[in-house]
Each structure stands twice: as C-alpha cells, then as structure tokens.
Symmetry: C2
Subunit: 164 residues, 2 copies
DNA sequence: CGCCGAGTGTTATGTTATAACAATGCGGCG
DNA sequence: CGCCGCATTGTTATAACATAACACTCGGCG
C-alpha cells in the first residue's frame, strides 16, 4: 500500500522483506505475527501497542489481550524488524533489515509519518563523542521531531497564500 | 552531595544554578518546587515521576498526588532545567542551563547514572543529515545506553581477575 | 471589596506495559 | 501410539506512567 502522507517509504515491501528474513533466519512467522505484519503494512505512521491491539481485535472478531501484542512486538524488535520510538511510545518498521542500524528517526509532527535515515557522519560523530567521554556505547537512539519535506513545503505555501 | 556512582557531575551546584536562573527569569521557586529541586540534588541517577512522588510524600509526611509532581516537572522542563529521558521514563537535571541544548545523553546501564554532553560535531552532523532529507528539525533527542567510564573500567578489571 | 491569575489540592481516569500461570499445538522419539 | 519438550498463544490481574477536570487558596491590583 502506498504511503498516505506522500513520503517515499513503502511498508508493503517491508512486509515481504520481513517474510524473507524470517525464512532465512528460521524464525517462525505465525498467523498472529503475520496479521501484525499486515497491520503495519497498512499504516504510514508508527503505531502504538494499543492501536495494534484494537486493530487486531477488530480483524479477529474477538478481544485480544495486551500480552499477546507485546509478545509479538518483542519478537519483531528482537529480530530487528521493528523499532520502538521512545518519544512516541510507538513502533515502526525498520527500513534497513540487513545491517546493524544506528539509524536516525525523523518524525513529522504534522502528518505523523516517520522516516529512518542512516548517516555515517552522525554515527561517527556520536561514536567519537562517546569515546571521548570514555563511554562504551551499546545502543544509540536518535529521534528528531519536526516537519517532513512535504509538510514543510505545504506549510510554506500556506503562509505564502496568507501573505498574498 | 557527591555523586554516588563516581561520575564527575555535581547535582548540588545544579540546584543553586537553577535558583539563580529562577531569580534572573522571574520564575517562582515555590516551596514545592524547591523541595523537588532538593530531591534531585540528592540523586546521582535520573528519577521517575513516581519516585519523586514517593520521596515528596515521605518528606511532607502526607500523601502527594501525581498531578502535583507532574506539574512541578512541567515547570522545570519548560524552563529547561530538567530533561525528560524518554527511554527511561525518567527525569534528569540539565547540566547546561545557559544555552540551548541539543545535548547527548549517556546513560550507564550498570550504575544508572546519566551524563549529558554537548558535542558540536554531533549537532552539526544531525542538522546536515536532516537538511539533506528536507526535514525541518524542531527537537532532537539523542540517548545512548552503555557503560560509563567507571563501570567500563570495573568490568574490565573484573574480567581480568576472572582470567587470572 | 471584587476580580484575576498562579499555584496547589483532590478525585477520577486514561494510557502504556508486564507478571504469572494455564492451555494448545507440534515434532521427536521410545 | 503415548509421552515429552518446546514455542506459541490465551487469560487474568496488576504495575507503571501520565493527564483531565474541577475546587480551593492566596496575593496583587483597580
């Protein structure tokens, strides 16, 4: 499914890439997990655990309990298929399944979509800075809030129209 | 009070710097806020809202309700005296009161203490990277988990002892 | 006085996450 | 087949984090 916000990510290919990765790694992609995968595929924006819970309940036609969802999320997180966005308490597809990711997350405050970019310069700068402090890095999170390309453009043209 | 973890930050001078900043800015440092300040002064590690709540209740000798604590935290956050650490749901003193801070937080998984460092290289790399993506930054959060200098050293000497 | 606004108190509730234990399903193996 | 062991899922309850809504106090000021 195409992204609703006009950003250029594609959750649908993500789902199929996750399926491949499960096969390669021998990880079980059970019906439950597949359904959760589908739910992420249909959403351009990060999803909260309880949003997934509700959608899952709706699709299954019966009430699903929180641990079911959190266990499924844990599975995807452990395999590196999903990221947890701490500043939103939400979860989003990892767009770089293949390699270790110290990606930077750009979260649009207007359309709610998130984009994950990898930047060697950022990674290196953080590693250098931590090394200077004598700190042994294990996990790094970079989350930025702001306006994505499209929303920034829209806002500009809106204010231009207001001036005219 | 000295830091319990051996790291080289000093929450006590932080409290007095906050007091100065309140005077300069005309912000009211009420008894409640002062008590919360004292609680942070006595702790080397970030504090959760409910930890503050319990400590506050203990010191006041009567039960304090969550909104009281959260409002106080909001006051400090808005004035830039505290940071919220999203990955811990906890709050820590801002060690750079004077200037806008896009600091990077180093959180030790062993002793729990956190250190805030400012690094122009990191800031610049993130700004450049976001600009490349056409993303208008508004707020950036960098949180790293790992081992602080002291804990990394301790771990090293422990494993050396194990080998011997 | 009478009003206002900042701060705090109080009650209730919303949101996010986990603990603990039971049940199911499936493959291997005697 | 019957049993075991393991991964997964179901179920119940509760913990942990956060906010909404409204009441009350108190000091400043016309």
């Amino acid at each position: 499914m195409a992204s609703a916000c006009g950003c250029d990510h594609d959750p649908a290919t993500w789902a199929s890439r996750v399926k491949d990765a499960c096969l390669r790694q021998g990880a079980q992609l059970t019906p439950l997990r597949r359904r959760v995968l589908d739910i992420f595929s249909g959403s351009a924006a990060p999803l909260g655990a309880y949003a997934i819970l509700e959608e899952l309940s709706r699709r299954e036609g019966k009430q699903v309990a929180p641990p079911t969802v959190y266990r499924t999320l844990d599975f995807f997180l452990e395999h590196g298929f999903l990221h947890k966005i701490e500043s939103l308490n939400a979860y989003a597809p990892c767009e770089h399944l293949d390699h270790a990711h110290h990606g930077m997350l750009l979260i649009c405050e207007s359309c709610g979509c998130s984009e994950e970019i990898e930047d060697a310069g950022v990674t290196r700068a953080i590693a250098d800075s931590a090394a200077d402090a004598g700190f042994a890095l294990r996990r790094v999170m970079v989350e930025a809030q702001g306006l994505c390309r499209k929303c920034a453009r829209d806002r500009l043209s809106a204010s231009a129209a207001a001036v005219a």
